[in-house]
């Protein structure tokens, strides 16, 4: 009890403050929207109607490659009197849709990395 009180006292006396910040870029790519895009069935018009214009449009061996992305950044800071710790974690959700010459979806590549993005302030380790 006394040790816990001492530890709490040290933390309170050395804790200058803490901060949490967050920034996002792009619209959220919903999982159900991605799941509704079927290879060999969904058309270019369907994709544009559901997701809007892509963030990047590339040519891939004569086929169209639509890329949609969203970035999420979380910043945690622990401001002590002795030392400050802070960590910025950035992850992205990416969706690639390859559309063939007939305007039909040929391939869908997607992943949602931002789902497990956490606020962290400890800069050491992984």
């Amino acid at each position: 009890m006394r040790r816990a009180g001492l530890l709490l006292g040290v933390i309170l006396l050395t804790l200058n403050g803490c901060a949490f910040s967050r920034g996002t870029l792009g619209e959220e790519i919903k999982t159900e929207t991605v799941n509704s895009i079927k290879k060999g069935v969904t058309t270019r018009a369907d994709v544009l109607a559901q997701l809007g214009a892509p963030d990047r449009l590339l040519q891939l061996n004569g086929r169209d490659l639509f890329q949609y992305y969203r970035y999420d950044a979380k910043v945690g800071s622990l401001l002590l009197i002795l030392i400050n710790f802070s960590r910025v974690s950035v992850k992205s959700d990416d969706l690639f849709i390859i559309i063939n010459h007939e305007g039909i979806v040929e391939e869908v590549i997607a992943s949602k990395r931002t789902g497990n993005l956490e606020f962290r302030f400890w800069p050491f380790g992984d």
Binding site: I81, S92, D94, P123
Partner: protein, 140 residues
């Protein structure tokens, strides 16, 4: 230790710590840094892009090349450390002195895969092979 002796100890620790203030340790990570071990499952001529996406997620870019499609995974692991030794003399100085040592290391890298027309990985390589940076404020 009684309650009456604990408070001066805590205060003493805090007073000792105050002149040393001015240290910063920060880190920036973009995506999960990949290592040769984490991509060892990729076998040229056998592993498909679907296998790679299942384990690593979607790439950051897909571009066309003369001999196939280049798939790129980018990641960054930056570390920053800063010490302000000016804080040591701050309690006795009429001005606010600074003597700052700081250093940052950018462990930026990318994994590139070359895929054939059947989306089978034919080649793979890390772009820079940069070592993991350290938290070292000494800049010299």
């Amino acid at each position: 230790m009684s309650r009456h002796t604990a408070s001066p100890t805590v205060l003493f620790v805090a007073i000792l710590a105050m002149p040393l203030s001015g240290c910063n340790v920060a880190r920036l990570t973009i995506n999960t840094p990949l290592t040769p071990d984490s991509v060892s499952f990729i076998t040229a001529g056998q592993t498909t892009l679907t296998d790679v996406v299942t384990k690593l997620g979607a790439p950051d870019s897909i571009t066309e090349a003369e001999r196939g499609t280049v798939v790129t995974y980018r990641f960054l692991n930056a570390k920053y450390a800063r010490v302000n030794f000016g804080w040591l003399v701050k309690p006795w100085s009429p001005v606010d002195p600074d003597l700052v040592f700081s250093r940052s290391g950018m462990g930026t890298d990318a994994l590139e895969l070359l895929c054939d027309s059947n989306w089978v990985v034919t080649h793979q390589a890390f772009v820079r092979h940069r070592p993991d940076p350290l938290f070292t404020p000494y800049p010299f």
